[in-house]
Point group: C2
Chain length 217, copies 2
């Protein structure tokens, strides 16, 4: 193993462990000592490789979070393209599928959404990255897709609010695991996740509107 390789591996391990810990406990609850211990390297490594704890946090987003978000979006795009027909229904289904099942392992998905949720609720410098490089282009793309299903001149704001509400629903079920488990009494196994995709699609598409017709509740 050359020094460069060892360096790289250390740096990679630091990024991985840092991301897991930051996602789990939040920035302030995690110490550089915990991170370096988890990465099986020396305390000084964080400052050597990243300059500071703060910058390691940012680098987690640059080197891990943003690329993973891109993978998610690609998965969404392919899943959507593979549908028989294109409609708001298939958009909603593809979104739920990508975010709740998708290409990520359970652990990776949870990390991803937890970091996202933290930045949504309490934006730091990393929110800039998330907003400009991930949210904005993705939402823009979604809006363009959805716009073709609506009458012209229908109000951009309404479109945005509906997209945000779809996201809200998807995110919530990734984020509030424990509350959902507690209320529904179900663990997040494969069957329940499939059930959630079904539910979110249905809810996003028809909403509670079905209630009065006896279709949804």
């Amino acid at each position: 193993m050359t020094p460069k390789e060892k360096h790289d591996f250390t740096k990679e391990r630091l990024l991985n462990e840092a991301e897991a810990l930051f996602a789990q406990k939040g920035y302030d609850a995690v110490s550089v000592r915990q991170i370096t211990a988890a990465a099986h390297c020396n305390l000084a490594a964080v400052n050597y490789h990243f300059g500071s704890k703060q910058n390691l946090y940012l680098e987690v987003f640059r080197a891990r979070w943003v690329p993973r978000a891109r993978r998610l979006q690609e998965y969404f795009g392919k899943f959507f393209a593979a549908q028989d027909s294109h409609s708001p229904t298939t958009v909603a289904k593809s979104l739920a599928e990508a975010f709740l099942i998708g290409p990520l392992s359970d652990e990776e998905r949870q990390r991803h959404h937890q970091l996202m949720a933290r930045e949504l609720g309490q934006p730091t410098e990393a929110f800039e990255l998330v907003a400009e490089q991930v949210m904005r282009p993705f939402i823009k793309g979604l809006a363009e897709t959805l716009r073709s299903f609506m009458p012209e001149g229908q109000g951009e704001e309404r479109l945005m609010l509906n997209i945000l509400s779809m996201f809200a629903t998807v995110l919530y079920f990734s984020f509030a695991h424990m509350a959902v488990t507690r209320i529904t009494g179900r663990e997040y196994d494969a069957a329940f996740k499939a059930r959630l995709v079904e539910h979110i699609t249905e809810f996003s598409v028809k909403g509670l509107g079905g209630i009065e017709k006896g279709a949804l509740l």
Copy 2:
């Protein structure tokens, strides 16, 4: 001012300032020194009145958060009862109204939802309180109300998922202020909040189902 009164005021101030800071920055990012400085009292006061920082956090939920949640629920109940007719639509509207406008000041509402969101994403001991004393009874009540609008034997799980999704939407717009502002380009003034109530009601009731009919987007 008698000693008892001074004591009480100090304790109250500590609870207030602690809640504001915990909501804003999260438990670990807030120091006892910050709290006592904000409450204009001595560093030792937290340990004297609450025993520990951890217990102060719990007491914030017991003495501030839970009672406020009850007020919110009462407001919801009265608002709902005052509607001309009762339907899923009025349930959704009352929920959005109570949580997004309701009886709380902007600051108080943000505090409330931030603390809630933190516990949802990363439950601590306080989640026990929130779940048992607030979420469970409220959701139970909502379920009973909504059940009367649905055909018998329609599946309790579906009902729960729909309720959770309604909450998800409402919570998101309180929680992700910055993202919402960034995407929509609108500040959270009275006009926008009213717009949000309208949107959430519509979305929860009809969901994106309206798209295909050109009604919602």
